[in-house]
Point group: C2
Chain length 173, copies 2
């Protein structure tokens, strides 16, 4: 059984990093809870939207992300039971490519380089399960799509949902 796992907002807490970068830059106090139901850039004033986008181009942004709670332990177990591949749509941000690879080396060294995919769109994946936070990735997947909860997707109803890595463990282990 081939299991694909997305990185940003599934393995790595990209959303919180955006909030922290934003608050630091502008002396604000935006919270994760306030963002529920929205993309982070929808929760900042129009003239600051671009600053959110700019995080993706900052050296160290991807390298410094925190792994999601319990993701390391659960993925270690999943990796014994499934053929686990990390599949990240990283091509849009060229500087993220090496950072993502190094991030995996640090936090998920048990995911061999053979099992890492940095791609553009995910239509071309052939496997059994995909855990992702983005509908456009899940929609084109032939297999079992699981949506991982992130503030921006809480109103999406047409996929089986997992809210945490604990839930993934209950569902797949």
């Amino acid at each position: 059984m081939i299991l694909f796992v997305d990185m940003d907002e599934v393995m790595a807490d990209t959303y919180t990093a955006h909030i922290e970068y934003y608050n630091r830059e502008f002396g604000e106090s935006l919270t994760f809870e306030e963002c529920m139901g929205h993309e982070v850039w929808q929760k900042v004033p129009e003239y600051r939207k671009d600053s959110i986008w700019q995080h993706y181009y900052q050296k160290g942004f991807f390298r410094g992300l925190r792994p999601m709670e319990n993701s390391i332990e659960v993925l270690k177990e999943l990796n014994e039971k499934y053929s686990v591949y990390v599949a990240s749509a990283a091509m849009q941000f060229p500087n993220s490519l090496l950072e993502k690879h190094q991030w995996l080396d640090e936090h998920f060294p048990f995911i061999h380089w053979k099992k890492r995919i940095l791609c553009g769109d995910k239509k071309i994946l052939r496997g059994d399960i995909l855990i992702d936070d983005r509908s456009h990735n899940l929609e084109n997947f032939i297999g079992r799509p699981l949506i991982y909860t992130s503030p921006h997707n809480i109103h999406t109803n047409h996929f089986e949902r997992v809210n945490s890595w604990e839930e993934i463990a209950r569902e797949l282990l």
Copy 2:
């Protein structure tokens, strides 16, 4: 129709680059023709084998490769007729990730970032045609595998073979 195209030794002339680097480093005059039927590292003395492997880690190696003859023109046309994805097993060489992306930007800017895949193994690709020089990639492909001739694979007989981009054009356009 989804068409996957490998980079090294299909779009990019990696084999010739190895020979050129080797000849420059050791003052040798190894030729492409002498290498027929072999991997390049099989054609150098045992104690220099490692130097071939080291090319992969040299800054600029992948960035400086020459595109294969006619590959740009033919891929431009194929890109009109097929959904063309570049699929490169680049994960083994982390420094190649950004270089490969930039190389595509320079030589194949018409291949959108959404259509670029840097992966480990290629078992996970879902599509119709794969052009690759390596048997282990072609063997696991569900679709039509095409082997692109490289000195190391001339004795492989169990795949439909293409010897040049002109032949690919005749076959697929």
